[in-house]
Amino acid sequence: MLTLYLPIVIYFTISLLVCFGIMGASRVIGRPKRQQSVAKLQPYESGIVPEVQLGPKFSIKFYLVAMLFLIFDVEAVSFYPWAVLMRQLRLYGLAEMGLFILVLGIGYAYVWKRGGFQWDR
């Protein structure tokens, strides 16, 4: 049974190798940090030395998108067993999945109505 998962292991290994390969390559090819000038790394403030370090502004909208992804990802995951059994469960399976989607559809409609899917609001 476990040998069935060998392709996934190879896939994970290759993706990890690509990650570390890119990071290692940028370390080898790029100039080390100590050789870069300090001024180049500072934010541009028209010649005035910045007093406080300000982080980039990170909007809460990104969080909302990630959260909706999480919720609907969990929903999508429960479709997999249903899809496998769809022919066996027949109308019964369709009805119970319909109820499931209906309940989540209420949430979807609520998010839509509150403008959760609009980026610039």
Partner: protein
């Protein structure tokens, strides 16, 4: 041969202990939250181990429900953390004393 259930339970117990220590020791709310996730998953591991021991699929259903509940909990919990700590300099739960009597 099948792997003994006890070994999985020991890993589960140690993971739960690591998570509990993390919640008690750390003060960064995010890391505390991640330690709570560790504890969720330690419990999931023991449920799956027992499901195999007794050949009961209900343990798997339980884990499924736990995963869904954990996803909902993460979504709500993280937004509360964001709203509380967004305008603070420190991410430290000890600074939350607004309700101190």
């Amino acid at each position: 041969m099948t792997l003994p259930t006890v070994d999985f339970l020991v890993v589960s117990a140690l993971l739960f202990a690591i998570g509990a220590v993390g919640v008690m020791v750390r003060k960064n709310p995010l890391i505390m939250f991640m330690a709570i996730e560790l504890m969720w998953n330690a419990v999931n591991l023991s449920l799956v181990a027992f499901a195999r021991q007794f050949q009961a699929i209900s343990g798997h259903i339980f884990v499924f429900v736990v995963v869904v509940a954990a996803a909902a909990e993460v979504a709500i919990g993280l937004i509360i953390i964001v709203l509380v700590f967004r305008h603070r300099d420190q991410a430290d739960v000890d600074t939350l004393n607004a309700m101190k009597g």
